[in-house]
C-alpha cells in the first residue's frame, strides 16, 4: 500500500475536489491540521549543532511539546523588533497591505489546495497580526477587532506550517499593487522560527552540508571527481570525445559553479554533461571547484545571515583560485541570491574583472558588480555570434516547452535568453499559456526547500497549476519535454509531470544544446547524452523545417 510520501497514495479525483469556501470559524480560531503529506520533518539536532544554531534538539512536528526555550516569546518579539529596525522593507510590508486580495488567487498552493491561509494576503496576516498587537498603537488598543492577536505556541505552529507552504516564488508579488514581496515575509517568518531552533531538515541539512563540504549533498572532492569522471565516460560513449575535468585549477580564467543536484540527480546530470562538452568545444580556460561546488544557496530559505555565510564561499574560492570572473549554471534561487543579495551582503567583488566572453569579446555589463554570468546569457551570446555549430534536427524527437523558473524569471528577468537558445537548438518549441509563463510563471511546487517526499500532498497540490499548463501543451502540441533552468525544478517537476502530465520528461537546456552541437572530432551521433537512440539519426533524416512557436 502506498504511503502519504508517495505519489500513488493520492488519487487525482480526490485532490481535485478543492473546496475554496472558507471554514465556518474565523481564521484566528482555526487551528493547524498537521496531516502526513503536508508538512516537512524538523531539522535534526546534529545539523543545528554543526551550524551553531540555537536550541538543537530532536522533536517531531506532531509532538504537543516542541521543546521551545522558556523565554521563547521574548526571543521572537525581540527578533521581530530587531528586524523591523534592520530591514525597512519588512516594516513597509507589514504596514502597507490594505488586504485588497489581488494576490489571493495567485498562489499555486491556494489554487491547488483551497486553504485560505495559503492566500498570500492571509499567510502574511499570520505574522502581521502579531506585528499589530505588539508594534502598533492601534493594534494594542483594538486587539482582535483591529486584526491583532496574541503570540502563542499555536501561532508558532501555524507559522511553521504555512511559512513552509510558501515556495518564496513571488508570483503573488507580481500582482500586488503595493509591490509587497511576500517571499520576504516568509523569509522573516522563517528567520523568527529559526531563533527558536525551528527549521525543516530538508533545508537545514543541505545548509550544514554546504557549510562543511561546499555543496548541499555533502559531496567531497574525491566524490566530485569520481562523479565527473563517470560523466566523462558517458560523454565519450555518446560523442567519441574525451573531455578534461579541470578541478581547483589556479589561474584559470573562469570559475564555473552549478547546483550540486546536477552532479548526481537525473536529469540534471545530462545538463552537467552538456556543460562539460560545451566548454571542451570552446576550449574555455575554466575550472570546477570542490570547495565552491554549489550554485544553490539554501541560506535563502533559512536566514539572511546564512545567505551571507554560504554565498561568501563562492567569492572566497574565486579569490583563492585567482580567476577573472564566474560563470553560473542552470540553477534557480542561486540567481536571486546573486542579483538581489550578493552585492549587499558580500560585494562588491572588486578583485574580479567585469566578465568578458573570451570567445565573442562581449562584455557582460549587467554583471559588472557581481562578476557572475548566467550560462544562458553566455550561450545565447555564443549563438548570436555564430560560434556554435548546431544541428537542431538532432532534437527533432523532442517537442519542448519551457518552464520559467521563478527566480531567474522574476528575480533576474532572464526571459528571452533561454527561449533564444531553445529556438536555435530545437525545431519544436511550444509555449504554455501566457498567464503561466515569464513573469507570471507558476512554481514547480517544491522550491524554497519544500521538495521533499514527506511533503508530497502539498507538492502535488502546489504543482497543479504548472502541471495543468504542461498537460495543455501536451494535448495540444504533443509536447514531450519540459525544459527548466533550475535544479530544484529538474528534481521536483519530474514528479509534477509524472502525476499531472504523464509522458512529459524533464530536461535542462544545456543538455539540448549539447545534443544539437556538432563537436570537432565527434563520431557519428547515434545516441543522445542519455545514451538513448536518437530517432531519425540512423539514416540522416530530413528536418521537418523551421521552428514553430505558438
Amino acid at each position: 500500500m502506498p504511503t502519504p510520501d508517495e505519489m500513488a497514495y493520492y488519487r487525482q479525483e480526490e485532490l481535485l475536489e478543492i473546496d475554496y469556501r472558507p471554514p465556518e470559524r474565523g481564521w484566528m480560531d482555526t487551528p493547524v491540521d498537521f496531516r502526513r503529506g503536508s508538512y516537512i520533518y524538523p531539522g535534526k539536532a546534529k545539523m543545528l549543532e554543526i551550524l551553531g544554531l540555537p536550541n538543537p534538539r530532536d522533536w517531531a512536528v506532531t509532538d504537543e511539546d516542541w521543546k521551545l526555550p522558556d523565554n521563547w516569546k521574548q526571543i521572537v518579539l525581540e527578533g521581530m523588533a530587531e528586524r523591523l529596525r534592520k530591514y525597512r522593507s519588512f516594516k513597509v510590508f507589514m504596514d502597507s497591505c490594505v488586504r485588497c486580495g489581488a494576490c489571493a488567487d495567485k498562489c499555486h498552493f491556494f489554487i491547488g489546495g483551497g486553504d485560505p491561509k495559503n492566500m498570500p494576503v492571509l499567510r502574511s496576516e499570520l505574522l502581521r497580526s502579531v506585528y499589530r498587537k505588539d508594534f502598533t498603537a492601534l493594534g494594542k488598543v483594538l486587539g482582535k477587532l483591529g486584526g491583532a492577536r496574541e503570540l502563542t505556541v499555536d501561532v508558532i505552529k501555524e507559522w511553521f506550517y504555512y511559512f513552509y507552504q510558501c515556495t518564496e516564488c513571488r508570483r503573488c508579488s507580481v500582482f500586488c499593487p503595493f509591490g509587497i514581496d511576500t517571499a520576504e515575509i516568509t523569509m522573516m517568518g522563517r528567520e523568527l522560527l529559526g531563533l527558536l531552533g525551528i527549521y525543516v531538515n530538508w533545508v537545514i541539512e543541505p545548509v550544514a552540508n554546504c557549510y562543511r563540504y561546499g555543496n548541499h549533498l555533502g559531496i567531497q572532492p574525491h566524490g566530485l571527481l569520481d562523479t565527473l569522471e563517470f560523466m566523462a565516460d558517458d560523454i565519450e560513449e555518446a560523442t567519441g570525445i574525451r573531455v578534461d575535468i579541470p578541478m581547483n585549477k589556479k589561474g584559470a580564467e573562469i570559475l564555473f559553479v552549478t547546483p550540486s543536484g546536477d552532479f548526481v540527480a537525473d536529469p540534471g546530470i545530462f545538463t552537467c554533461m552538456g556543460y562539460m562538452l560545451l566548454f571542451h568545444e570552446l576550449g574555455l580556460d575554466y575550472t570546477w571547484s570542490s570547495y565552491a561546488s554549489e550554485g544553490g544557496n539554501f541560506g535563502l530559505f533559512t536566514s539572511h545571515e546564512m545567505i551571507k555565510r554560504l554565498n561568501a564561499k563562492i567569492y572566497a574560492e574565486a579569490k583563492r583560485l585567482g580567476v577573472k570572473w564566474i560563470l553560473g549554471g542552470e540553477c534557480g534561487h542561486m540567481w536571486r541570491v546573486l542579483h538581489q543579495y550578493m552585492d549587499t551582503v558580500n560585494g562588491p567583488a572588486d578583485f574580479l574583472e567585469v566578465p568578458r566572453s573570451p570567445i565573442t569579446g562581449t562584455v557582460f555589463e549587467n554583471a559588472r558588480s557581481t562578476k557572475m554570468v548566467h550560462i544562458m546569457e553566455f550561450v545565447a551570446d555564443l549563438i548570436h555570434h555564430g560560434k556554435l555549430k548546431l544541428r537542431p534536427e538532432r532534437n527533432d524527437y523532442v517537442r519542448v516547452t519551457f518552464h520559467d523558473s521563478c527566480n531567474p524569471a522574476r528575480a533576474m528577468g532572464l526571459l528571452e535568453e533561454p527561449r533564444y537558445v531553445l529556438r536555435h537548438v530545437c525545431n519544436h518549441f511550444y509555449e504554455m499559456p501566457e498567464n503561466t509563463i515569464r513573469e507570471q510563471t507558476f512554481c514547480c511546487g517544491g522550491g524554497a526547500g519544500l521538495g521533499t517526499d514527506e511533503n508530497m500532498e502539498m507538492r502535488l497540490r502546489g504543482g497543479l497549476p504548472r502541471g495543468a499548463a504542461v498537460r495543455y501543451v501536451q494535448e495540444k502540441y504533443g509536447v514531450n519535454r519540459l525544459a527548466a533552468i533550475c535544479a530544484i525544478d529538474r528534481a521536483t517537476l519530474v514528479t509534477v509531470c509524472d502525476y499531472w502530465a504523464p509522458g512529459v520528461k524533464v530536461t535542462g537546456i544545456t543538455e539540448l544544446v549539447a545534443n544539437a552541437m556538432v563537436f570537432e572530432g565527434e563520431h557519428e551521433r547515434k545516441v543522445d547524452l542519455r545514451l538513448e537512440p536518437i530517432p531519425g539519426m540512423e539514416g540522416e533524416q530530413e528536418s521537418e523545417g523551421s521552428g514553430s512557436d505558438e
Binding site: N201, Q220, G223, S260, V264, G268, A487, I488
Partner: protein, 105 residues
C-alpha cells in the same frame, strides 16, 4: 530520535526509517532493514546492489549516482525497482545503511 531493533541491535532511525549511524550497519541489520522495505529475503542480486552501495559510500561518503549504480551492477533501473520497490535512493540505500539524500534531488 526513535530507536528500533535491527539485527539484534537498537539503532536510531529517522522519520523515514533510515539508520542514523552508518557504522551500526552489518549484514543482519541489512536483512531487517530490507524487511521494512518489503524485501523478505535478500537474494544474491539484492546483495550485489547493497554491497556496491555500501562500498561506494565507505569510499566516497555519498551514494553513487543511480546511473553509475546501474552500469556497475549491470541492473537496469526497472530491475532495481523490482528488487527494491521504493527504488534505489529510498529503498536500496536505506538497506545499505546510507543516509537519506537531501538537496536539489
Amino acid at each position: 530520535m526513535e530507536k528500533k531493533e535491527f539485527g539484534g541491535k537498537l539503532i536510531e532511525v529517522d522519520e523515514d526509517g533510515f539508520i542514523q549511524d552508518p557504522d551500526a550497519w552489518d549484514e543482519n541489520v541489512a536483512r531487517d532493514l530490507a524487511k521494512t522495505e518489503g524485501v523478505e529475503e535478500m537474494t544474491e542480486d539484492h546483495w550485489k546492489v547493497v554491497n556496491y552501495l555500501r562500498e561506494y559510500y565507505l569510499q566516497y561518503q555519498m551514494a553513487p549516482m543511480i546511473r553509475k549504480l546501474c552500469k556497475t551492477t549491470g541492473f537496469k533501473l526497472k530491475e532495481i525497482y523490482d528488487l527494491f520497490p521504493s527504488g534505489p535512493a529510498k529503498g536500496a540505500c536505506k538497506v545499505a545503511g546510507l543516509p537519506k539524500p537531501t538537496g536539489c534531488v
